[in-house]
């Protein structure tokens, strides 16, 4: 944890750093040699409390939001406005019988959800959730994040394989194949940011975006390459978290419930938790890389605490996840793979080139025009070619009287 250099004790600054100050105050009761470790422990406790709570809220808001999109209320009876719904779900999941299939691999079956949740939680360690609010400020923070998200794949496989159920295995294979395929564009799209900011450390990346031109921020999404990377990142992130329209691993219309078909009770709840936590962490990374992390969207809004901006941006991205889920049908396995390897990956590579071009063209409007033209042109071209090659597109129909 970075030290908290609160220079001015103006109220906004105090509010901004309130968590850090609180932590420092708590830690100050301990001997000095214990303080760093205690700080980390406190941070871990905070993360372990905050994000599951956020998960609980998100599930109920997702269900309500989906409901609204579908002209209905969604859960609104359990507690005020249905807010206690996730608590009830939790109580029930905890007390529900834990069925382990007879021929399942008991040990692996038991370990899979645990390792999944643990690896997903690890990802939060490097997220800067506000000014000075990263649990550990690693030099190779981005790398750490991706290595953790790569480790989740194995847990998914373990879950699917140990259940000894055809649907589970099929779901797990799908999930792993999909996650591996989309990890490549995910990594490469963030490489663009690393190229410009010149750092793998997430706080540094945020700082690189925290300037303003007039009132408008210097976020990477407001550059041609940044927008393109962001789109690719968003697509890949959706695929990584198995959300609609890439939710094939759980495609209930074909393979029942995917890799967690055979899980019940609390273990199933853990999978559920892990899915949402992954959504938060990947949204957090997306926000950090492209949307300026904890910096305010307009310069005069800086009085609002930084953690507020971080969490609102994350929630906004969660809303988009939900929105897409409410609208889109899912792709097919081969289409998903083709999309990853034949569309997203080449486009990402091109974008890397464009980023390099941007880096070396220097300030001025020329690089804006050149980069935008290349990206838009290639996008339209690839879209056209893809559509024609796959023979899909709008059709006309004839009538008989």
């Amino acid at each position: 944890m970075l030290a908290a250099p609160v220079s001015t004790h103006a109220l906004p600054a105090i509010v901004d750093q309130v968590f850090i100050l609180f932590k420092d105050w708590l830690v100050s009761f301990l001997p000095t040699s214990w303080r760093p470790a205690a700080g980390v422990v406190l941070g871990v406790i905070a993360i372990v409390c905050v994000f599951p709570a956020l998960f609980a809220l998100t599930t109920v808001f997702e269900r309500k939001g989906l409901g609204r999109m579908q002209n209905r209320y969604g859960p609104n009876r359990v507690g005020p406005y249905g807010l206690f719904q996730p608590i009830a779900d939790g109580v029930k999941s905890l007390t529900k019988e834990d069925v382990v299939p007879l021929n399942a691999d008991v040990m692996v079956h038991f370990l899979a959800p645990l390792t999944l949740v643990v690896t997903v939680f690890m990802g939060f360690a490097v997220l800067p959730m506000g000014r000075n609010m990263a649990l550990v400020s690693l030099d190779a923070g981005l790398l750490f994040f991706f290595s953790m998200s790569a480790a989740t794949e194995l847990s998914v496989f373990m879950a699917g394989w140990s259940s000894r159920n055809k649907y589970s295995l099929l779901g797990a294979m799908r999930a792993v194949a999909q996650m591996i395929s989309y990890e490549v564009p995910l990594l490469l799209s963030s490489v663009a940011v690393v190229m410009i900011s010149g750092s793998l450390s997430l706080p540094k990346i945020v700082e690189a975006q925290s300037g303003y031109t007039g009132v408008f921020p210097h976020w990477y999404i407001f550059t041609p390459w940044g927008l393109a990377s962001f789109l690719v990142f968003a697509i890949a992130a959706t695929a990584e978290t198995n959300r609609s329209p890439f939710d094939l691993p759980e495609g209930e219309s074909e393979i029942v419930a995917g890799y967690h078909t055979e899980y019940s009770g609390f273990k199933f709840a853990l999978f559920f938790l892990a899915e949402y936590l992954a959504m938060f962490s990947i949204s957090g990374i997306g926000v950090t890389l492209f949307l300026g992390g904890w910096s305010a969207p307009l310069s005069f809004l800086n009085v609002v605490p930084s953690w507020f901006w971080f969490f609102s941006k994350v929630m906004l991205s969660i809303f988009v996840f939900i929105w897409m889920r409410g609208t889109l049908p899912r792709l097919r396995q081969d289409q998903l793979m083709n999309f990853a390897w034949k569309f997203v990956l080449p486009f990402t590579l091109l974008n890397l080139g464009v980023t390099a071009l941007w880096r070396f063209m220097g300030e001025g409007w020329a690089r804006w025009v050149v980069c935008s033209v290349i990206l838009v042109g290639v996008y339209v071209l690839m879209g056209r070619v893809g559509m024609f090659k796959k023979h899909f597109g709008p059709r006309s129909y004839r009538y008989a009287e």
């Binding site: 030099d139 790569a150 794949e153 194995l154």
Partner: protein, 166 residues
Amino acid sequence: MSPVFYILAAFTVAGGLAAVLLKNTVHCALALTVAFAGLALLFLNLDAQFVGFAQILIYIGAVAILVVFAILLTRGTETPREGVFSRSWLAGLVIAACVFSALGWAVLESARALPHETAVPSVTVHDIGAALLGRYVLPLEIVALLLTSATIGAVIVAMHEKGSAH
């Protein structure tokens, strides 16, 4: 020699042993990832952050998954009827034991000459990047070539049969 080292070492060796000894192939692969994770932690213990994370990303995120996929694709999940160890297992064991004793003897012999605790080197990712694109740019290019050719080679090897079947 901190207790952390002993814990990690035990963890890693246990993973490695399990990977070699277990009956079920998938269990072996999973145990292998345990060993990989232990090694990654050891790297971190050695203050090699970048290598540690790269170890997790590549070994657990890619190699282990690859192994698992290969096991499933070759239907290796069932334990074979004829036993899991090769007929020449004894010879193998002997050779391994010999190798270990030779190495161990060499290490212990030279233990006195080995350097003692040194200061923690302050190497940032930035330094590594600079080194990769500076002094080590040639090996980097070669590795890039190697990786590309390996990818193509693996794809071709795996695709080949399908092509000829039709």
